[in-house]
Symmetry: C2
Subunit: 253 residues, 2 copies
């Protein structure tokens, strides 16, 4: 117990059903949502993959992928030192430090990823809201995590393209309303969109989010998959329960 990483007074230690994972989150700061979990379920990670997560926040994505896939290495980049530190301690709490690493820095700069060889996969659940839209959360931790204050959609896609090996895969979740910007920039930066899935809260409603897979240097040709519905009535849909591991706890993602 003495050797386990400390938990600050303003933090909670939450347990995810998902592989029995533990994660530290600030009580009143940004807390992860369903979105990174949907992204992890959408991303196809192969044994031996080298994965980079852009804007990792609490480290939820590296923690999940480190736990439930056979990726050789998962690196998360986070601009906020306090969040990066918290993510690092979560890595230790889950004893994933051999394969999962959290790097602190601005992904738009050269520094944080200096020395890393190209990745086979880049994932990202970036801030959704454009500068000047919506209300900025009064707290700066939440503001940075929700708004494009530290990089817009184009920064994230540019860095993904730069850091991927040729033929590498890019997985992102974003607002459905940004579809056109997203695929336009992806194609421009040689991350050809190959797979697309829309996330609707319920059947019969408009899509709220999209999941997209791109391939660096890939040829045009897109599959638009069956939609994902989050709720059935007032409860999570069977598919979301399965993703959470509620139906088959041994099955991982």
């Amino acid at each position: 117990m003495e050797r386990s990483p400390h938990i600050l007074e303003n933090e909670t230690l939450d347990e995810l059903r998902l592989g029995g994972m533990k994660i530290l989150q600030r009580k009143d700061g940004y807390r992860f949502s369903l979105d990174p979990i949907l992204l992890c379920a959408f991303a196809k990670i192969k044994p031996g993959d080298r994965v980079l997560d852009l804007g990792t926040g609490s480290g939820i994505i590296p923690l999940i992928l480190g736990r439930v896939t056979q990726a050789a290495r998962v690196v998360g980049v986070e601009i906020q030192p306090e969040m990066a530190d918290r993510a690092r301690r979560s890595v230790l709490l889950n004893e994933l430090q051999d394969r999962v690493e959290i790097v602190c820095g601005d992904l738009r700069g050269e520094k944080p990823l200096q020395g890393f060889s190209p990745f086979s996969v880049v994932v990202s659940n970036p801030p959704y809201r454009r500068l000047g839209t919506g209300r900025h959360a009064p707290d700066s931790e939440r503001a940075l995590a929700r708004h494009e204050l530290a990089g817009g959609i184009d920064d994230f896609i540019r860095v993904a393209s730069e850091r991927l090996a040729e033929g590498g895969r890019f997985f992102m979740i974003h607002l459905a309303e940004r579809l056109v910007d997203l695929v336009e920039i992806m194609r421009l930066l040689r991350l050809e969109p190959k797979r697309l899935r829309f996330v609707h809260s319920r059947a019969g409603e408009a899509a709220r989010l999209l999941l997209v897979e791109g391939r660096k240097g890939g040829r045009p040709g897109l599959e638009v998959e069956a939609p994902l519905y989050v709720y059935e009535g007032d409860r999570y849909s069977l598919e979301v329960l399965k993703i959470y591991g509620e139906e088959d706890p041994e099955g991982g993602l």
Copy 2:
């Protein structure tokens, strides 16, 4: 009876439940599918609209829109003289000649639409298959209707943009796999994608088609609507039956 347009030996006169419409089709040529009907149901036509249909084929779209909307005028352009002639006779058979006009010519040229003032709406159900993909139907009427022999996706979108008034609406149905090309070219040609709907054969299957609405000079901002499912089990879905007017024959589209 003597005054009604003639029906050639190689033609059939088919009746659509949809507003009691009649349509001439060649027995062994191109026969329309569900797709133009889905497009007509997706397009929002207002009273007084001036509508242009690019690649009108048998005239199915102008015939439907002339019948079930209050468009002031509907003009269809068709490159194949035999099909244009057949579409014209269908217009007469439905007594729509005061509001519906079929023009024969290559939409890529200046000629066919010379003298027409800008339209408020352009619709199109163009050929889907790229040159060199799939087998070309041995018959040239079918080949022209199915393959991009007489204009690719970019020609159709360019002409739509040229012929639309500022603020005008563009409605197209195409293969879901062409999504990225479509929205990229639309934005490039100032037809900003505003509404998108995917058509799946059945729930749980990938999308086969997409329906898109663009607005000339519109601002970015897209709604991805609930998907349309064509079948429920072995039967048409309730929504498709409604579109066909099976549920409520008086309701039009």
